[in-house]
């Protein structure tokens, strides 16, 4: 993949500009980054996109690390011939994470006092409650774009079955997510889902 310096800037700017739109957290941004990295620029593959998210979920810590994994895979694809993949992957990981976090952290730091003072005001309550249904909608889309992208490539109906089973288990039971991820890894390793 031929990725120039200005492509790096485009990516970092996109992370920085999406930062303050991360209402409901990093997960709500997945559809936007899927559109940006795969549909618009073809800088990541579906396999990289979904496995990056999977690794971030399997490993402890804030969900925002999913965004760092997009930077990781972008760095791997952007590595010039003769250089270390890992050096560029780590560069992508750290720089994308910093760009994704800094604007929203600065905003939080400056706006906290105001919101604390006005937390009971009708406008703030309406903002919080009014956004909830829209945020939930975009989170559901996150789930949808990963499965759909995967299905288009692997063309295997079991993918829908496994995603739906997981969804129902998370929704209806208190099973720990590590069990679910481990089961997914075992099913995948057996070759049932096919490869990309």
């Amino acid at each position: 993949m031929n990725i120039s310096f200005s492509d790096w800037l485009t990516v970092l700017l996109h992370f920085a500009s999406m930062s303050v739109f991360a209402i409901g957290g990093a997960i709500a941004l997945i559809p936007e980054f899927h559109r940006f990295f795969i549909d618009e620029h073809a800088w990541l593959t579906e396999a990289q996109f979904s496995s990056g998210i999977a690794l971030a979920q399997a490993s402890p810590g804030p969900n925002a690390l999913m965004l760092a994994m997009m930077g990781w895979n972008f760095g791997i694809n952007a590595t010039p011939v003769g250089y270390s993949h890992y050096a560029f992957a780590i560069l992508g990981f750290v720089s994308c994470l910093l760009c994704a976090l800094t604007p929203s952290c600065v905003l939080t730091f400056t706006a906290t006092r105001w919101v604390q003072k006005n937390n009971e005001k009708m406008g703030v309550v309406a903002f919080k409650k009014g956004l909830a249904p829209v945020v939930i909608g975009s989170m559901l889309v996150s789930s949808w774009v990963i499965v759909r992208g995967d299905f288009v490539l692997a063309n295997n109906w079991q993918i829908w079955l496994i995603a739906l089973t997981t969804l129902l288990l998370v929704w209806g039971t208190k099973i720990h997510i590590l069990w679910l991820l481990a089961s997914g890894a075992a099913i995948g390793a057996s070759g049932l889902l096919g490869s990309f």
């Binding site: 941004l29 760092a68 604390q116 009708m122 829209v134 889309v141 949808w144 995603a163 288990l169 995948g188």
Partner: protein, 195 residues
């Protein structure tokens, strides 16, 4: 804000508490945050913690990151906010890089590629299930459950089926939902006041 709790004694203590908390958080740090910061360390009272959490949810950005910025800055100013965010990210990021290197080394093996594939599909299901859990909280929404779900469904169609970019959808759907919610709350408060 009268009784906030004892708070951490030093920046180092803040850093390690948040590191410990982040390393226990698989797919959702809030329950862990509440247990570590309120129940174990008693840095904040439950009441204060809930209020801060409500504010963290209103502001853009990941909730747990916002919460770290708020708690850190309340105790030690800008430096506290910085150290808190560092605490929540540094160790998990390091760990994730090691995990990613490990998988990158063995990606060529069909079993490893297959395992990653399976985990990716399960992750998608996890996100969907978590969203549906959150949708349960819409039952008490000012727009009624049906009204709120209508916004969820339209947002889903615009993004998933028609594939519009996020920002225009967020602006149009978010603004109309917030305005309608505002109008509803105002209306119900006026109605209650006149009884």
């Amino acid at each position: 804000m009268t009784n906030t709790g004892e708070g951490p004694k030093s920046l180092a203590e803040l850093y390690w508490a948040l590191t410990k908390l982040a390393l226990q958080g698989f797919g959702g740090v809030f329950p862990v945050a509440q247990r570590v910061l309120v129940e174990e360390r008693k840095w904040f009272t439950p009441q204060f913690f809930l209020e801060e959490w409500a504010v963290a949810q209103v502001l853009p950005g990941p909730n747990i990151v916002n919460l770290s910025v708020m708690l850190g800055s309340r105790c030690f100013g800008a430096m506290g906010a910085f150290v808190a965010v560092l605490g929540i990210f540094s160790m998990p990021a390091l760990l994730l890089i090691l995990v990613a290197i490990f998988f990158e080394q063995f990606r060529e093996y069909p079993a490893v590629a297959g395992a990653l594939h399976g985990m990716g599909v399960v992750s998608a299901g996890l996100i969907g299930g978590t969203s549906l859990k959150m949708a349960g909280s819409l039952k008490t929404h000012p727009l009624t459950f049906f009204g709120a779900i209508t916004f969820t469904v339209i947002t889903f169609i615009l993004l998933a089926v028609l594939r519009f970019p996020l920002i225009p959808v967020l602006l149009v759907m978010g603004t109309s939902s917030v305005f309608l919610t505002y109008w509803k709350i105002k209306h119900s408060r006026v109605a209650k006041g006149s009884e």
